[in-house]
Symmetry: D2
Subunit: 299 residues, 4 copies
């Protein structure tokens, strides 16, 4: 019996990390959109792989040019911008059946000069990066919004107790510790008529509020509360997934120096760290695998 | 009609990036294993998320301790070490149905001192990092080996021609350019009785050889040739996936300075870069989605 | 004639990057100090280097312990904290004649929850990192304050013209471009009775204002204006030094696509970048070299 | 009495991180030079800073172009390439009195294909980066060679004992530990007729050998031995400076799990780390401050 043939499997290609900055300057008060955009196409590219025939390979350079050209008309929300790119590529090349478009968006604040907001001077603000992904795949279309690098910390109101023990357990229980994490979250919209910027701002606020309260018996509980809060308030969101490190802050033992340490002095450790990943979903709603393929840090 | 309830979806948690170094020193010639290990458990953790009940939450600290304790008996190949961890956690806690264990392995070379290899002095070698992932999920068990950061370059024997053009295309065709990439590859073993270290060394060599030759009409073609070569030589490998940037080296236009540039002086660009991702598989063999969930950069 | 002997030159050693977090929690409204502290001692350490005699080597581990122990009493401004460390080490060990103490300080904002500032939940804020260095050297004592990573951008009001040309010049003149940089600045205090926190806040504001206005004929001019403004307003500051990349934003040529680009669509380039470094000083005031040794990016 | 005027202090400017790759292809066996070059000019640039007059500002873009143009004739050693740039800029513009030119050089190895070295396929090799700096300043000219990121480790033959103790000392003495560091070293050549490539290769070897042996009573002693060895063998080197982290590998306490740990299982910690910096020099030879200004990590 012969071996099965070796063939091409799933594939996509494109241009990654196109750093496009769009200035809107048709009025005195300028606006700035600062994006890092990746475009990848899916479709019938077997000949390029197997035979070296590039007749279907829309150059990655062309994809880059298209991103810059489309920015000329304005960017808007990153989700809307990616949807325009998706529509263009899928409708322009019959062998392109879909793709994956992603953007990071960096926020800028107006400088305050002499007590007033400046018209055209900005300072990079915040720490988190807003993320967006559009996946199109043979008629399906998915929009994932998100954020990464939102670093938050509670100085109290957090503990970890009543966990199982085995021969490798040495951890002490606590009802008072620092809880700190870098939130990475992605949520999938269930429908198309969304005000993406307003939804983003609202979700960000809800995540912060649900991190702050109530008492946290563990990062899993806090994560779930954050997700639940978002789904409760946003009917247009079908599901939300998190990848959150538990950034350990260890209370330093100062007793060798004749000092107490009532949870005031901590060592902020780098590695290892806890890593908590979970989805919060609506019961019975099936999550499309295509939307989440290739996204790190989620199971 | 009532809204669907909000519930917990897929989840996993554990300790990430445990930097364990094991020295084997029962003979004069020491050996060193240098790993970065992540352990994440899957199973019934709903109560912790929804009710704050940690009775099922094997602490991430315990997972870390277990990694160090298991290293005491020796590490061996990263794949074998992760399999030991998987067996332990799945068999020790009835509510743990599986998990994901991953390791990066850093290579060290013996120093040469006075013309001879030194017994216990080492220098970090190579550029790539060897990677391993074990996914266990309700009886299934998958082993992915891989490497990342293997930076390779050809100074000639590469071109890109005969691609489709549209109104956004400005790229010029070429039959002679630099081809450079950082190879990230992951391959899945079809069976369990593998000599992981030997297979790794062989796959690495095959990837290099298939990158070097023959003429490359595009990075897709080279990628496919690399994957095909590996599958041809390794019946124990079911599939291999790649994520490879096209690291552009642009020939600099020196004509304003009265100089020619016959592909000798290049600007090595950072961003944007091409990004080529594909799987090379055996026909008819179904790839288990669980093996690849949450791995970035592959579709 | 014999060769000159080989001897030990200048040296210092210590513990780097101690990540200490201090929570002040003696009232409901907690405060947080988040520092990355480095301590290095200078003095008579020749025997350790030349003879392997550690009798003078205060362990780097002890230096770390001291940082945590001193944090127990409160941190205050990073400059004041480093001065306490300097006093301690110089006075505690007769062979320690001085040293270098440095800190990065990360800022946290209170979360807003339900319209009010939260007592103990915080989000990492801003982008820049506040820096402080104390150098003590045989009786001299220098305090450098600073910041790094303050990313600012003007969408207009900047140009570059009337520069010299040679055979390698291809740059076009412009009176309208994006001006963007990551400000790294360090300033030296001329006296000891400084309110370091207030001075820092004021300098940061002045730097932003002087970046925003007036029209910039080049980054050198803007840098000088920023420094001048700080020295004008702060008699307690003896000098200020800057290292500022010119983060190029290139207007994309959209004409191949039938589009104009009146400075609206830009490519934000990574490398290479301009790099402008200069000191703004008070005439006749000699800068102590010891204060600035080993600080990167300043001439 | 009037305040001293505010004036411009020391300054330099230029283009940083020009990523130039030069392929030598006049024979079948290609060669590759891969550099990251920074050029900064010093001289009379006061008018640009104070008055916004750019008549002396050789554009950073021109400096970049010059780097690419000069690479057309071949690169050679990074030191020689930087010296050519220095000569050019100082001789071409009368107001340019000097500057600082720096390069990182990345090493590539030929691939082995079918048992033979390939003519034009390469893999990035080694871990360390070779560094070079040329400082020219009103007639003075200094050449600093160096390397960074050379990660080395000894599994035994290292200890730390007989250090002073105070109330903050908790460290235990040891005669057997892992010693690991990332070597950053820079050395200054005393004369101009140096074979820079040969000297580099020799110094790198000597550094490794002197790290490997003899028994290390502390990183200071090992550092000094490394420097001494280099100066003994290289009369053309006037001095050498090091910045070396003590990368702590802590033996993990396995006793809670009923296991011993005879220095076999270690946790490789990230932060904090020891930081040892020192110069090894020839007695009576005065080090020119201009050569070392603005180089991080050395006192």
């Amino acid at each position: 019996m012969s071996e099965p043939a070796i063939v091409l499997g799933a594939n996509q290609y494109g241009k990654a990390e196109v750093r496009v900055v769009k200035v809107t300057r048709d009025r005195a008060r300028h606006e700035i959109d600062d994006l890092n955009v990746t475009s990848q196409l899916r479709g019938d590219f077997a000949a390029a792989h197997v035979e070296g025939d590039n007749a279907h390979i829309v150059p990655t350079d062309t994809q880059k040019n298209t991103i810059f050209a489309f920015a000329r008309d304005g960017v808007g929300s990153p989700e809307a911008f990616l949807l325009r790119l998706a529509d263009h590529f899928v409708s322009s090349f019959e062998w392109v059946t879909g793709g994956r478009w992603a953007a990071d968006r960096y926020a800028w604040q107006r400088m305050e000069v002499g007590g007033a907001e400046h018209d055209h001077a900005f300072v990079r603000s915040g720490q988190e990066v807003r993320t967006a992904v559009v996946v199109a795949d043979r008629g399906e279309r998915h929009v994932l919004a998100g954020l990464t690098g939102l670093t938050v910390l509670r100085t109290t109101g957090s503990g970890f107790e009543a966990y199982p023990r085995d021969r490798y357990t040495t951890l002490a229980e606590t009802r008072d510790r620092i809880l700190a994490t870098d939130v990475t979250a992605r949520w999938r919209y269930a429908r198309a008529d969304v005000d993406y910027d307003a939804a983003y701002a609202s979700v960000r606020s809800l995540l912060l509020e649900a991190f702050a309260e109530p008492y946290s018996p563990g990062l899993q509980s806090t994560l779930y509360g954050m997700g639940r809060r978002v789904l409760e308030e946003h009917a247009e969101i079908a599901e939300i997934r998190f990848s959150m490190p538990n950034k350990h802050h260890f209370a330093v033992d100062l007793s060798p120096f004749g000092l107490d340490n009532p949870n005031e002095v901590f060592h902020a450790a780098d590695r290892p760290y806890g890593l908590i990943e979970a989805a919060v979903v609506r019961e019975g709603v099936v999550s499309p695998p295509a939307a989440w393929d290739g996204i790190a840090g989620f199971c």
